[in-house]
């Protein structure tokens, strides 16, 4: 790998987040659920801020989502994303009670409005990392 072939940022999983990343690699969106009170939280972290239990279960997200907000990236802040410009980053509400950020596929930003239903899919990013993506629900 040379400087002329920049790499996209690679997550460095922690003990708290490793199951989440391993889930994505297998095409599953796994979310932390408190082992004591059942509250789902994201992003992964060690402690339930509601009941302060360290106990964690992992649950698979339903795959449903709804638009909360978005942006369209036009400027290459990172050279590895330059070939992808412009790309749409959507923040979406999940019925599990947390939000997810991912790129939009199969539609342009003009289709977006708050509350628009989405489906979560998965896509390998060309560098060996599987990430969630959003598509419009039919």
């Amino acid at each position: 790998m040379t400087d002329s072939m920049p790499r996209k940022p690679v997550p460095e999983p922690s003990a708290d987040s490793r199951p989440h990343w391993e889930g994505l690699a297998a095409g599953r969106l796994l979310l932390q659920r408190c082992g004591a009170c059942g509250r789902v939280r994201h992003y992964p972290r060690p402690l339930c801020d509601s009941c302060h239990s360290f106990a964690v279960d992992w649950v698979e997200a339903s795959g449903e989502a709804a638009v909360h907000s978005w942006t369209v990236a036009h400027h290459p802040f990172h050279p590895a994303f330059r070939p992808d410009l412009p790309y749409t980053l959507v923040t979406a509400d999940l019925p599990e009670g947390v939000r997810l950020l991912a790129q939009l596929r199969g539609a342009g930003p003009e289709a977006l409005r708050i509350g628009l239903p989405l489906r979560i899919g998965f896509e390998e990013n060309g560098e060996g990392l599987t990430l969630p993506v959003f598509r419009l629900r039919d």
Binding site: P9, S14, S69, T71, H75, A102, N125
Partner: protein, 385 residues
């Protein structure tokens, strides 16, 4: 006990600001600004006995000032690494230190090679405050502050009808102020149409919605209020101050209300401490990393209700002679990006009556805000006195 009125900003200093090409290190820029601030107060470097470092740009630490300024007896040092909220957070720390009798004269230095050194997309990925978004959002291509903040602006637009032209009002007014300043890097006037024609960075934020990346230094000295009476400049007291952290401080994505910043928690506390209301404020220096962040803070400060910021800024309302003069120095958008320390300097100038062509007539009461990282908010209310 209250901190209100226990500390005063007694010295201010700035280097020349440049849009790049300054060959000097961040430390040298901070030292030059510090010497200017100490001299402005009528103090000597040996009088400094406290240091708060808001942003250790270039790896600068308090010890560097002891060594270079020859400070014989430093009694207090700390850091306020809240990104752009750090400069105003440092004021609160300094006032607390002098009010507690720990020290008498606190230096707050800031300086950076934001243009010549590491650029923003590289720099923030190394900051611990960005660790969470670095792991979970950067892989998707959310790399820089513009991309993290743009969804806040988009949601505000969708919920409240805020427009890009309203954001442009902020950019245009701020540029007009920079032209009056004499130490601003941007000196050509712009129009709303120029803003609308500027290239998109992270929709809805255009180039002219974004702050500069600059080389330079700015510093202030905070002194115990009773010691400030004997110093060189008209006294400017810090009468209200507060720090506030938004819900979900490490990820805007997960924030319950994306249109509410940490300042919404801090501002009511600062106004209560100072015993004033937004209607009493003569001039406001509001952290302006992006135009939208100014608009949102105007709401969180209580100058208007949530959702009404767009209408509030229309028609030159933030200009000199407008309903609330804002960023009379040109701000981060058009003077220089000194992480808000230039806002502190400007507020003190205004309250001393030393703001030259940008002077708000009879300015007696003003406020300065900081906005850091992913929504931390700080505020200081100051009064001539």
């Amino acid at each position: 006990m209250t901190l209100s009125g226990k500390g005063a900003v007694t010295g201010i200093g700035e280097t020349a600001y440049r849009g790049g090409g300054d060959p000097r290190s961040a430390l040298v820029l901070q030292l030059e600004a510090s010497l200017a601030a100490i001299a402005d107060a009528g103090l000597a470097p040996r009088d400094i006995d406290g240091i708060v470092v808001p942003m250790g740009t270039g790896g600068v630490v308090a010890e560097d000032f002891v060594t270079n300024l020859g400070i014989p007896d430093l009694r207090f040092s700390t850091v306020t690494p809240l990104g752009g909220a750090g400069s105003v957070a440092a004021l609160q720390c300094a006032v607390a230190a002098v009010a507690g009798g720990i020290c008498a004269h606190v230096l707050i230095p800031l300086g950076r090679t934001g243009r010549t050194g590491q650029r923003i997309g590289t720099r923030i990925q190394q900051m611990p405050q960005f660790r969470t978004v670095g792991e979970f959002e950067a892989p998707h291509g959310a790399i820089a502050p513009a991309q993290y903040y743009a969804p806040m602006a988009r949601r505000h637009m969708e919920l409240f009808g805020t427009t890009s032209r309203q954001l442009a009002e902020i950019a245009v007014t701020t540029r007009a102020h920079a032209i009056l300043n004499g130490n601003a890097t941007m000196t050509q006037p712009i129009t709303i149409e120029d803003h609308q024609a500027s290239r998109m960075i992270a929709d809805p934020l255009r180039l002219l919605d974004c702050s500069l990346e600059s080389d330079g230094g700015a510093a202030v000295v905070v002194s115990a209020a009773e010691r400030a009476r004997d110093l060189r400049q008209p006294r400017v007291l810090v009468t209200g101050m507060a720090e506030g952290h938004p819900d979900s401080p490490s990820a805007i994505t997960q924030r319950p209300d994306m249109t509410r910043l940490g300042l919404a928690k801090a501002a009511p506390r600062a106004f209560a401490m100072a015993g004033v209301t937004p209607a009493d404020i003569d001039v406001a220096e509001i952290y302006d990393c992006f135009t939208y962040i100014v608009l949102c803070q105007l709401e969180d400060l209580g100058f208007c209700a949530k959702g009404e910021g767009g209408a509030f800024v229309e028609g030159g309302a933030l200009g000199l002679g407008g309903r609330l003069p804002v960023n009379t120095h040109g701000g981060l958008l058009s003077q220089a990006h000194m992480a808000g320390m230039n806002h502190v300097v400007e507020l003190v100038r205004q309250l001393r009556g030393q703001a030259g062509a940008a002077q708000v007539p009879d300015a007696e009461l003003g406020l300065v805000t900081g906005y850091g990282d992913l929504g931390d908010g700080t505020i200081a209310i100051m009064a001539r006195g």
